[in-house]
Symmetry: C2
Subunit: 402 residues, 2 copies
C-alpha cells in the first residue's frame, strides 16, 4: 500500500518553518543530485515496513499500535505512518515534539515521559486544552502529580496521567507493585483535574538484545512479572479497571508485549526508519524491517587509494551505536571511522572492487547506526521513490528537546 497522493500533496504546505535552512533537494530531480550531507527516506521501503507491522499485529486485535515519533520528529512522517498502519495516534518523548505533532495535524498523543517545571506544565495544559487534542502524560513522582493537578484545574481540563513503572531499565519510573499503586491512587485522588490512564511498562535496554529467544525471555519474564505485579497492586488499591492502558514495547520487542495478553498498546517507532543497530538484531521474518533511512554524503577527498574522506562527520551521523555502513559494499571492504565533526574517513584497504565508488565527487549512501540522534542532526527528510525525489519534509521537532 502506498501513501495516498492526497496525503503527499498535503505534506509540505504549512509544515515548513519559514526560517529553516532550505531543503537539500527538489522534487522531480534524481536523488544523486541532492546536496549533501542529507537524509534520504525511501518511501517504498517505509510503506513495506508499515505493512509488515500491521500484518504482525493482525493476530492481536486488542493491541493498539502507537508508533513513537521521537525517532523521526516529523509530523509528515507521522501522518504517513498513521495512514499506512491504521494507528490512531503517536507517542512523543518531549513536549516540543507533541506541540509539533499537533501543529501538523496529529491530535492523539501519549507523551511517554515526565514533564517537570512550571513553564512546561503550563504549556502541557495549554496543548491538552486545544480543540480535538487527546493528550496523556507520564508521572513517577507525587510532587509532580500535585503540580499537574493544580495546573490542569487552573486550565479547566482533565489531564490523562499514566504511571511510569521501572520494569528493569533503571532510568525513570517507580518500583513495580505497591509503589506504583500508591502513585496511581495519588492521581485518582486529584480527580477530576487528573484521570488515571494506566501504566507504562517500557524496557528500552531489551530492544537490542540480539537473540530472539533472549529478547522474548526478557519481556515474558521480568518485564511481564513487574507489569502484572503493578496491575495487581492497583487492583488491590481499587484503582484499576480493564479499560486502562498498559503500554510499552519497542521495535525490538513489541511482538512479545503483544503476545502477553496484558499489554494493550505498543510503542514501536524505529521500524519506520530502521538503522544498523536494529537490522543487526536477529528477528523472526514477520517482524523483520528493512532500511528506510540513509544519509547521502559526498566523497570530498581521496588522498590515497586506501582512504577516502566523506563530507559527513559527527555533525551529520551519530556514532553512539558504532560506525555506519555503506550501501553497495560487501562487509569488511569499506569501513567508516570518525574523521571528527565534519569528516568521515572510509578505510578502503580491503576494497579493491568497490574502490571506484569512492572517487572525489561521488555520492555515497550511508546507513546510519542509530536513527534517532542522526535524524536529530538534520532539518529535512528527502522522500524518494524509483530514484527520484518526491518531496522534502521538515523535521520540525529537531533539537535538544524542550
Amino acid at each position: 500500500m502506498r501513501c495516498s497522493a492526497a496525503l503527499l500533496q498535503r505534506l509540505p504546505a504549512g509544515m515548513a518553518r519559514p526560517g529553516l535552512p532550505g531543503p537539500p533537494a527538489r522534487a522531480g530531480f534524481p536523488v544523486a543530485a541532492t546536496d549533501t550531507p542529507a537524509l534520504l527516506l525511501d518511501l517504498a521501503a517505509l510503506e513495506r515496513n508499515c505493512a509488515r507491522i500491521k500484518a504482525a499485529l493482525g493476530p492481536f486485535p486488542h493491541v493498539a499500535l502507537r508508533p513513537h515519533a521521537k525517532a523521526h520528529k516529523s509530523s509528515a512522517v507521522a501522518a504517513m505512518t498513521l495512514e499506512l498502519t491504521g494507528a490512531r495516534g503517536v507517542c512523543c518523548q518531549k513536549l516540543c515534539e507533541a506541540e509539533a505533532m499537533v501543529d501538523g495535524g496529529i491530535n492523539d498523543i501519549l507523551l511517554s515521559n515526565e514533564i517537570i517545571s512550571q513553564s512546561k506544565i503550563e504549556r502541557l495544559c495549554q496543548l491538552a486544552a486545544r480543540p480535538g487534542v487527546k493528550l496523556a502524560v507520564l508521572v513517577d513522582d507525587a510532587g509532580n502529580v500535585s503540580d499537574l493537578a493544580r495546573e490542569a484545574a487552573r486550565a479547566n481540563i482533565q489531564l490523562e496521567v499514566l504511571v511510569e513503572v521501572d520494569v528493569g531499565q533503571n532510568r525513570c519510573g517507580v518500583a513495580p507493585g505497591p509503589a506504583t499503586a500508591a502513585l496511581a491512587s495519588a492521581i485518582v485522588s486529584h480527580s477530576p483535574a487528573l484521570r488515571f490512564g494506566g501504566l507504562q511498562c517500557y524496557h528500552g535496554l531489551t530492544q537490542h538484545i540480539r537473540s530472539v529467544a533472549e529478547r522474548r525471555a526478557a519481556i515474558l519474564g521480568p518485564v511481564l512479572a513487574a507489569t502484572k505485579a503493578s496491575i495487581a497492586a492497583c487492583e488491590a488499591a481499587g484503582v484499576w479497571s480493564p479499560d486502562l492502558r498498559v503500554t510499552g514495547g519497542g521495535t525490538g520487542t513489541f511482538i512479545f508485549e503483544a503476545e502477553t495478553g496484558v499489554f494493550n498498546e505498543v510503542q514501536a517507532g524505529s521500524f519506520v526508519l530502521m538503522d544498523t543497530d536494529y537490522t543487526d538484531n536477529d528477528a523472526e521474518d514477520k517482524v523483520k524491517f528493512e532500511p528506510v533511512l540513509h544519509c547521502l554524503a559526498t566523497v570530498m577527498s581521496r588522498p590515497l587509494p586506501e582512504r577516502a574522506v566523506l563530507d559527513a562527520g559527527t555533525k551529520a551521523l551519530d556514532l553512539g551505536c558504532g560506525p555506519p555502513r555503506f550501501v553497495g559494499t560487501k562487509p569488511g571492504t569499506a569501513t567508516y571511522r570518525s574523521g571528527g565533526d565534519e569528516h568521515g574517513i572510509i578505510d578502503l584497504s580491503g576494497a579493491a572492487v568497490e574502490s571506484d565508488m569512492f572517487k572525489v565527487g561521488s555520492v555515497v549512501w550511508v546507513q546510519p547506526s542509530h536513527c534517532d540522534p542522526t535524524v536529530n542532526l538534520h532539518d529535512w527528510f528527502v522522500l524518494h521513490r524509483d530514484g527520484i525525489v518526491q518531496d522534502c519534509v521538515p523535521i520540525e521537532a529537531r533539537g535538544p528537546g524542550r
Copy 2:
C-alpha cells in the same frame, strides 16, 4: 575587557531566523529560569579567554589569530570574539557556516576545508563575489582545482586557494613536499581565476595530547618538518613567496605553531567556549582557558537516592569525548551516564553531600565534554552575566553542514 554595549545591542537584530524555535530564555531573567535543556554562554569567562589568547599571542606579532567558527557556528559569537581579540577574520569548516558568517557581517573567511560538487562550488563563487568579502578555500585534488578555476572564471572573480597538507592527521590533504608543490603549481597555472594563498598545515589529533611536552614535540617535530619541506618544495617550484599564508594550530597547540616562526596564522577556536576534553589538557598558565559553555538541564526524575535523571540525553549533549561533568560537585561524587536520546542518568552513589542538588525540578549546570557537536544540537546560546540572562543569540549555521 567587556564586549561593547554597541555590539551586544546589535547582535540579535537581523540574525535570528524567523522559523527557529523560540529562544529558551529572556533578557533580564535569572539564568535558573531558562527553559531546559539549553546552552549557556558565560560572557565574563568568554571575555577573559579572549584576553588570554590575545596576551599569549602578544610576543608573536607576525602571527595572526583567525578563530575557528565551527565550534560555535554563530555570527554573534564570532563578532564578540573578533572585537575582543582584535582578530580580523574567522575560519569556517562548511560553506553554510561561511554564508552564515557573511550574512552576520563577518567578511574575512578562510574556509579550511575542500568544497566539492558543482552546486557548492557555484555557491562558493557567489559568496566570494559579494562586496567586501575576502574568502579563501582549501584544495587537495587537481580535479577540484580545475573545477574551482572554471567557476571562478565564470563568476569573474579571483579565488584565493590554499593547499591542505597532510602533516600527520591522515585525513584530507596532499603529502608534504613535492606533491604539495605540484598542487600549488596547478593553482598558479590557473591564474588569474585562482590565486595561490599558501598552505594549511593543521594536525587535529595533536590537540588533545595531554602532556605539554609531548604536544609541543608533536608540533615542533613532525608537523614543523612537514611544513618546512612543503614550503621548500614550493620554493623550488618557484611558487612560493614570503607573504603567503602558513596556517594551522588549534586551541591545544597554537602557541607552539606561533613559536615556530614558520606559521603566520593560527586557527584556535575552541578556546572561546571550552569543554572538558580541552580543560583536561595540561597547559601552561598563559594558554589555560576556563569553561564558558554549559548545558542547563533539569532533574526530571529522582527514583532512588542514588539515581537522578536529567532531561538532557544524547540529543542535547554529545558524548563522543566521554561523559560531561556537573558544576559544583566534587570529582567522583556525581557522574553522568547515558540514559539514551532524551535522558541523562546521574549516578549519585558517592554523593551524600551533593544529593540535595538533584531534587526533581532542580536545574543543573553541565559542562560538555566536546563543545562542537554539543553546540550543533542546539539553536540558541543564552548569554549571561552575574547570574542574569543578557540576551539569546542564534546558532545560525547549526546543522549537518552543507
